[in-house]
């Protein structure tokens, strides 16, 4: 694994968590009930915190005078390497929960590996803190999947549709590119094939409890890790980045 690839791997961890944290934070003030509003904001705060840690580490490693904010606010959509799933608009509560459900199962397993690997102690440190947070995110989303799936007919149909709509974005989570491959060989990143198995077990288990169908695997969307995104990301970044880009000399 080259030094560049190593940094890129850390940046990707930051991109995933920032993009999802940004999306999720839009629920604040708009949740289905006050208690859930608070829960979603807590999750968003965890994710933004994780992003800050990964960006700060990536910035230190590349040593080019950038910091967490330079990485968050002064890169364009082509530079972001998050998974496509995370940048999709929030949709309704069911869409958001399904996305949390798919991603949390993945991120949880990823953090399990990252917290145990011995190649990069700083990554392991961030991951072991994040792992606890992800266990909660997973639990929370799984509880909701079961309640929506096995709730009313309306909720069942809605969340089943969300699962269908988002399914084609799950393939990318397990598709290794050169960075993933090099990271795996170096002992930094998990084997995505093995990770897919544990992910499948988690997802299938919960879908069954929720009386929901797992969709057939078909064509999968890809491109996030190569910087080829959906149309949604550049809008999201335009909004997120507007102040630092408008006043590049200002500090806040």
């Amino acid at each position: 694994m080259t030094e560049d690839q190593h940094i890129q791997a850390i940046l990707r961890l930051g991109d995933d968590t920032l993009v999802l944290g940004q999306r999720l934070s839009a629920w604040c003030g708009h949740g289905p009930i006050l208690e859930e509003d608070i829960a979603l904001s807590n999750t968003a705060l965890d994710l933004i915190g994780q992003a800050r840690n990964f960006y700060t580490l990536a910035a230190a490693r590349e040593n080019q005078g950038r910091d967490e904010d330079k990485l968050a606010f002064f890169r364009s959509d082509r530079d972001f390497q998050n998974h496509l799933l995370l940048e999709l608009p929030n949709g309704h509560f069911g869409d958001t929960i399904v996305r949390q459900f798919f991603f949390s199962a993945f991120a949880l397993e990823r953090y399990v590996f990252l917290s145990r690997q011995l190649m990069d102690a700083e990554v392991a440190g961030i991951a072991s803190k994040a792992l606890k947070e992800l266990q909660y995110h997973w639990e929370h989303s799984a509880q909701w999947i079961i309640r929506l799936g096995d709730g009313t007919e309306e909720s069942h149909n809605k969340v089943q549709q969300s699962i269908h709509d988002l399914w084609s974005y799950t393939g990318e989570l397990f598709e290794a590119d050169e960075v993933d491959q090099a990271g795996f060989e170096a002992g930094l990143l998990p084997n995505l094939e093995l990770l897919r198995d544990t992910w499948n077990t988690r997802i299938d288990d919960c879908l069954q409890k929720a009386t929901l169908q797992r969709p057939e695997d078909g064509w999968m969307q890809r491109g996030g890790k190569q910087g080829i995104h959906s149309e949604h990301l550049s809008y999201m970044l335009a909004e997120m980045q507007i102040l630092p880009r408008t006043y590049p000399d200002a500090s806040w």
């Binding site: 009930i33 608070i38 829960a39 807590n42 929370h140």
Partner: protein
């Protein structure tokens, strides 16, 4: 649509702030079931590390003494001053008892 009967039930939340202390009433919240009540309590009442353990109890399961009985229930303890250690004046030599 006035859906008062569809409202999630009310739960009372009790938090142990650290090991060694008892659970103390922190407040209440709405949740559809016990599991979600625990999760919500964690998110609502322990955002600032206020707790290490949570109890949730359906508000309707709590039986309370009636305020009208306050005097009957609690006044009779008034004149039992001998239950309190300060009632007993001991010689200074044993003042650590």
């Amino acid at each position: 649509m006035s859906s008062t009967q569809n409202e999630w039930p009310l739960w009372e939340v009790f938090i142990r702030s650290r090991q060694g202390l008892g659970h103390k009433h922190a407040g209440s919240l709405h949740a559809p079931d016990a599991q979600m009540a625990i999760q919500n309590a964690r998110d609502v009442y322990t955002r600032r590390q206020e707790g290490v353990s949570i109890w949730v109890v359906p508000a309707e399961s709590i039986t309370a003494s009636s305020p009208d009985d306050k005097e009957v229930m609690f006044d009779p303890a008034n004149d039992k001053v001998y239950r309190h250690p300060t009632f007993y004046k001991l010689p200074d030599e044993v003042n650590n008892m």
